[in-house]
């Protein structure tokens, strides 16, 4: 029997844990040509700000080993157009939509959250705290526990209870757990880990920085170990908070790694640029990987890597016996 992929993000149940990462699935329109949005675990929108934003000039990205660096400048249509054009499209497609909220001030975040409050098509909210704070010399909110907490509190206040709010953190901090704790105290129902890692590339032809923004965010498989470490660390400190894990996921086994580290769901980002139909494949591969390991339910694998060595979940034990028929009857019923 194949494994059950059902997972929970607080009050929200998802049929599978594979989402698309913020800013990597576009508005959903272009992705819909390659993926049935209703069959994704969920769709995370690009970060939405109060006003339309053109973003940074080109060049916005450069290819690097196992990934890319990008400095986009949060391009987007602003909350009005998002609510009029993009959210209804996602709802029509049957996507479970997680709206990413961004801003350059606490008031920006609060404004977007307030506008989202009565939108029934919003299944969860992700707060992108890795945005620069115009009131703090452009330092990202994610870099200080108090600033991150202020933003999370502002969003949580406006979003209906029952709609979980996830704080999405940047790994470029000396102590991620402190920031995560501050967000949890401010009312975050879960955490998204990780946003891109600061990086830079220099064009050896022009002899200048490859991006108009000089430095940018590194994404893709190159950052996967940083992301897995982040999820593992934060899950150890806050085991009760659901985590959406991301950073370089390209296969079902990559997804499993995040789940074992403590993620209840995963998001696929840069891989979609390489393989726009990747999400469905990752769902299939994850299901096969769980089944092959005798893990009947995804939920049983969440955080499994934290269990002491020697601990074997019952299903895995059943698989490792040479006679598959010896699988106890009770396990079958549990599935």
């Amino acid at each position: 029997m194949s494994a059950s992929l059902i997972t929970r993000l607080g009050p929200v149940e998802l049929p599978n844990p594979v989402l698309t990462a913020s800013g990597c699935g576009g508005t959903g329109r272009d992705l819909a040509q390659f993926a049935d949005l209703s069959r994704l675990g969920g769709f995370i929108t690009p970060s939405v700000l109060p006003q339309p934003r053109a973003g940074r000039p080109t060049p916005r990205m450069a290819e690097t080993p196992g990934g890319m660096v990008s400095a986009m400048g949060l391009p987007g249509p602003g909350i009005d157009t998002f609510l009029r054009r993009d959210l209804p499209f996602l709802a029509e497609q049957g996507a479970r939509t997680i709206v990413s909220v961004g801003g350059n001030s606490v008031a920006d975040y609060a404004e977007v959250a307030r506008r989202l409050r009565d939108e029934t098509a919003v299944c969860a909210v992700e707060v992108n705290v890795a945005c620069p704070n115009a009131e703090d010399r452009g330092l990202v909110f994610a870099s200080r526990p108090s600033a991150a907490a202020d933003v999370v509190r502002a969003v949580r206040t406006h979003i209906r209870p029952g709609v979980p709010v996830f704080a999405k953190l940047s790994p470029d901090v000396s102590d991620l757990v402190t920031i995560a704790l501050a967000c949890a105290d401010a009312g975050a129902d879960g955490l998204s880990l990780i946003n891109t890692v600061l990086g830079m590339a220099i064009d050896t032809t022009t002899l200048r920085p490859a991006l108009s923004g000089v430095s940018g965010g590194l994404s893709g498989p190159a950052i996967r170990p940083i992301a897995v470490r982040s999820v593992y660390q934060v899950h150890a400190a806050l085991p009760q908070l659901p985590i959406i894990g991301m950073g370089g996921i390209a296969t079902g086994l990559d997804a499993l790694e995040f789940i074992l580290a403590g993620a209840s769901a995963v998001a696929v980002g840069t891989t979609l640029f390489h393989d726009p139909s990747a999400a469905a494949r990752i769902v299939r591969e994850l299901e096969e990987a769980l089944t092959a390991r005798g893990i009947g339910r995804l939920a049983d694998a969440v955080g499994l890597a934290h269990r002491p060595y020697g601990f074997v979940p019952p299903q895995v034990h059943a698989l490792s016996t040479t006679e598959p028929n010896h699988e106890p009857k009770t396990e079958e019923r549990a599935q």
Binding site: D30, R53, A54, P57, T58, N133, A134, A222, P276
Partner: protein, 288 residues
């Protein structure tokens, strides 16, 4: 469509390479001006960005083949030049908006620079089928880097070839011969594909003559695009809309064919101040 295409041939054409693969689903849907986005480096590669190429030609052989022409300019394209027949390639296409064709049998000037000339031949066929006249101007740095000069002479109602070093055709640049070519061909519309600088000049000259011009931004897309599918927003450029508002459009999904007179050529690589969503003049903090 995302398909696994089987390579038929990879051959050198002057200083460029032409790759033909069997991909019926793409061949069937292709319209001139559209492109394919090819994954490079094989299954376990660390090169994640798709390479975008305008399609040269589709044929019905083997159920449907697709051919594209490219310059070997980075390790990704170098990998492509090493493909052999029966290798498979992960290809997405046809992508982007095609050239719009005139309703009436008018006179058309097709302007190509470097490998970009390849995108014009399927267009020429489509125009001929509509009874249009097809005149070519093809340019490049030297004889090895002008694509399709001989085919253009064969199928075109006229063909002007120009190279920087004069090794084939006349010595000079495309923009230099354009006024004469526009006059000689009595062109009603201009189509162009090639280096971004050439497209800028072609758009400028054509607008000066009041002739509508469509450009295919293949090179800009190659330099700036990560996905080709409209997801990543890295290949944007400022374009003036019907409502007069400048917006940052994607060269992939909103292009690659755009109206040349609408592109703000001198503002490429910037966000013009009056573009929709541009940073406000005194808004000091920008995001990183």
């Amino acid at each position: 469509m995302q398909v696994s295409g089987t390579v038929l041939t990879v051959r050198e054409v002057g200083g460029y390479h032409a790759l033909t693969l069997v991909a019926p689903a793409i061949a069937e849907r292709f319209r001139p001006g559209q492109f394919v986005a090819v994954a490079v480096g094989g299954e376990h590669t660390g090169r994640l960005l798709r390479r975008c190429f305008a399609v040269y030609e589709v044929k019905s052989d083997y159920g449907g083949t697709v051919e594209f022409v490219f310059a070997d300019r980075d390790p990704g394209t170098a990998w492509l030049t090493g493909r052999r027949s029966r290798d498979t390639l992960d290809v997405v296409g046809p992508l982007g908006r095609p050239f719009r064709l005139p309703r009436d049998p008018v006179s058309c000037l097709l302007v190509g620079g470097g490998p970009g000339g390849a995108a014009l031949f399927s267009l020429a066929d489509a125009l001929h089928r509509r009874g249009c006249q097809v005149h070519f101007v093809l340019g490049g740095p030297d004889a090895a880097h002008v694509f399709g000069a001989r085919s253009a002479q064969r199928i075109g109602d006229s063909a002007t070839v120009v190279t920087t070093d004069g090794s084939v055709g006349s010595r000079g640049e495309v923009a230099g011969v354009l006024p004469q070519a526009l006059a000689d061909s009595r062109a009603d519309v201009v189509y162009a594909c090639g280096p971004t600088e050439t497209l800028r000049q072609v758009s400028q000259v054509s607008s000066d003559y009041g002739i509508p011009v469509q450009v295919c931004l293949e090179e800009f897309l190659q330099a700036n695009g990560a996905c080709g599918t409209g997801l990543c927003l890295t290949c944007v450029l400022p374009v003036i809309g019907d409502d007069g508002v400048t917006r940052m459009l994607r060269a992939c999904a909103d292009g690659p064919v755009l109206r040349g007179e609408r592109v703000r050529w001198s503002d490429l690589g910037t966000i013009p101040l009056e573009a929709l969503g541009a940073p406000r003049a005194l808004h000091v903090m920008e995001d990183s």
